[in-house]
């Protein structure tokens, strides 16, 4: 973009000030959501940098030779299950001329063959076959110094935790167990405390920058205001108790809203919030029933693991969301729904009913995509203006988190982002 300075390796002070007028994450320059230079730098420093990106549930590729196509940032990758049940991930780009090798979203295959010149690979990405390698009719083929062993598909580091598969391009990323870390593991252990059963995915395409969604899932302040379904039908109350913990670097977050049987919050709520509509009731109230399946009775569990994953439990609806950037102004959001392998038919039916709560037509979440689009539309003009994230600034987490009226973890996210991006 003309007029913008080239980004230097470590971010000049002028660049820092343009994107982050204050270093504490409480002011976010709008260009961070639309700049093509920033987007390119994110691919290098975040998606190919020292992070782990969620790519699949193990339950999606449960059989030997199952595979699934996905992305780490902009890079197409394939995740496979090998014949010994181990998992592999490789860049979906032929070692020969760069054509996309695997052209199916998912399936089962012992080998993957590039359509262009029929170079073939095994499930680990090793190069197994080159047509006319030794030439034809005495004419030469590949030169003697071409060593097939050195030309497999580009592998990614792969690891899984509790059935969630992650991939990384970086040798600098800590082991996955440590990357998820001691603050986040209990949340994932909670949801994945027993084997799951995959129920399908739904996809939403949103015309906004991917970081706006990362803010959205770290923002309890908006929940009762944007999502009027809660207040309209009595799911959620200001005054409900929250617990929100984050990783040391501020990049991962775990919000838990605890179940409350009482409706004490109503009176205070009604006076302050325009979206509160008294008297409206659901006819089919079972939609909101939460059957407690865990040690702690939590109604809403939202847990972003930076950069591509959000683990969620909304009542008895269980899903992980995969966030895929598609250029500075778009992202795809994929919801992978699951139940537990030992669900009774009644429980499975209950989860199917509560699948209505989240996803592209989710009764309590459909507005998130729209909200991020509204920001993108109004800020992509390249202006110098900045967003404000001041709610609860200057006070401790203990004082602000229980009410949920806080932007503290948005600020923490942006501080961690600045460090990763060296801005």
């Amino acid at each position: 973009m003309a007029g913008l300075p080239e980004l230097s390796a470590n971010g000049s002070k002028a660049e820092r000030t343009m994107y982050f007028p204050r270093p504490d994450g409480s002011r976010i320059g709008y260009r961070i959501y639309s700049s093509p230079e920033i987007y390119q730098l994110e691919q290098e420093r975040i998606f190919r940098g020292p992070t782990w990106s969620f790519v699949a549930l193990e339950a999606e590729i449960s059989q030997p030779h199952d595979f699934k196509s996905s992305f780490v940032g902009d890079t197409p990758v394939v995740v496979t299950r090998n014949d010994d049940n181990s998992l592999s991930a490789w860049v979906n780009r032929c070692a020969h001329r760069g054509a996309m090798v695997c052209r199916s979203a998912r399936g089962n295959a012992r080998s993957h063959v590039c359509a262009y010149h029929q170079w073939s690979y095994d499930t680990r990405g090793n190069l197994r076959g080159i047509p006319f390698k030794h030439g034809v009719k005495g004419m030469p083929g590949m030169p003697p110094d071409f060593d097939q062993k050195n030309h497999g598909l580009q592998p990614l580091r792969l690891d899984s935790y509790r059935g969630l598969i992650f991939a990384s391009f970086s040798d600098q990323a800590p082991p996955l167990y440590d990357y998820i870390g001691p603050q986040m593991r209990p949340g994932i252990d909670r949801i994945f405390h027993k084997p799951i059963s995959y129920l399908g995915c739904t996809r939403q395409y949103i015309k906004a920058n991917w970081k706006l969604y990362n803010e959205n899932v770290r923002d309890p302040y908006h929940a009762s205001l944007l999502h009027a379904f809660f207040s309209t039908f009595n799911i959620y109350r200001a005054g409900m108790r929250f617990r929100i913990v984050m990783s040391d670097d501020g990049m991962h977050d775990w919000l838990a809203a605890f179940h409350a049987d009482h409706e004490d919050g109503n009176a205070a709520y009604r006076d302050k919030v325009a979206s509160f509509k008294e008297g409206l009731r659901l006819e089919h109230t079972a939609l909101l029933d939460n059957v407690n399946e865990y040690d702690e009775f939590i109604n809403t569990h939202i847990q972003p693991i930076f950069p591509q994953l959000v683990v969620t439990q909304i009542q008895n609806s269980l899903a992980v969301r995969q966030l895929l950037p598609k250029g500075p102004g778009n992202f795809e959001l994929i919801f992978y729904f699951f139940g537990y392998a030992d669900d009774t038919p009644e429980m499975r039916a209950h989860r199917m009913m509560q699948a209505n709560l989240v996803g592209p037509a989710g009764l309590i979440s459909m507005e998130d995509g729209l909200a991020t689009e509204l920001v993108q539309r109004a800020t992509a003009d390249g202006s110098d203006a900045a967003a404000i994230a001041d709610m609860g600034r200057g006070v401790s987490d203990e004082q602000q988190i229980p009410s949920g009226i806080s932007e503290g973890h948005i600020r923490a996210f942006w501080r961690g982002y600045q460090e990763l991006m060296r801005l």
Binding site: L199, G200, T202, A228, K277, F337, A361, L370
Partner: protein, 174 residues
């Protein structure tokens, strides 16, 4: 064949054809009224197209092909359909939009005297406030229709969509 030679078999054949034409006409009219009700924003009438325990679902083809149940919209009974419309009118936030449904390829198979299975293609063009009209969703309806004292009603209607990414959000039934 001379005019005098109309046989019992001919008469029976003609009656069967007439019954089938009448059925085709009834089903086609049901579908036309269904899409017209949605496209005219008379959504409060939408649940009335279903039997009391009727099932309505919108499911991506990607899942249906794998035998996976999850979709984006699942109503089990008319009460859930009315709740959806109550939420759409009072709770949910979305951009004003207009749908125009186009259908084609209607096929049906009679299961018994009062039950029919029916399929057809659909395309929904959505116009947002910017005035642009875009293909919002393409797919195929898989319907089970039952004869009731009030006329034909959907016992189940599944919209299996090809357009795997939902643009922004979906709030209005298909």
């Amino acid at each position: 064949m001379s005019a005098a030679a109309i046989t019992e078999a001919d008469r029976h054949g003609a009656e069967t054809a007439l019954t089938e034409i009448k059925l085709w006409f009834d089903l086609h009219r049901l579908q036309e009224r269904y899409i017209s009700t949605i496209d005219s924003d008379r959504l409060e009438e939408w649940p009335d197209f279903f039997s009391e325990d009727g099932v309505y679902e919108i499911v991506p083809k990607e899942n249906a092909d794998q035998g996976l149940p999850v979709g984006i919209f699942h109503c089990f009974g008319r009460a859930m359909m009315r709740d959806r419309i109550t939420a759409l009118r009072n709770a949910n936030l979305y951009e004003a939009h207009i749908y125009r449904h186009m259908t084609s390829g209607l096929e049906f198979k009679q299961v018994d005297a009062s039950t029919v299975e029916m399929q057809s293609n659909y395309v929904v063009i959505q116009t947002l406030t910017d005035g642009e009209s875009r293909v919002y969703q393409a797919g195929r309806y898989f319907d089970r229709v039952v004869r009731t004292p009030q006329g034909w009603r959907y016992q189940s209607k599944r919209a299996i969509y090809d357009t795997s990414r939902v643009q922004t959000l979906l709030v209005t039934p298909i």
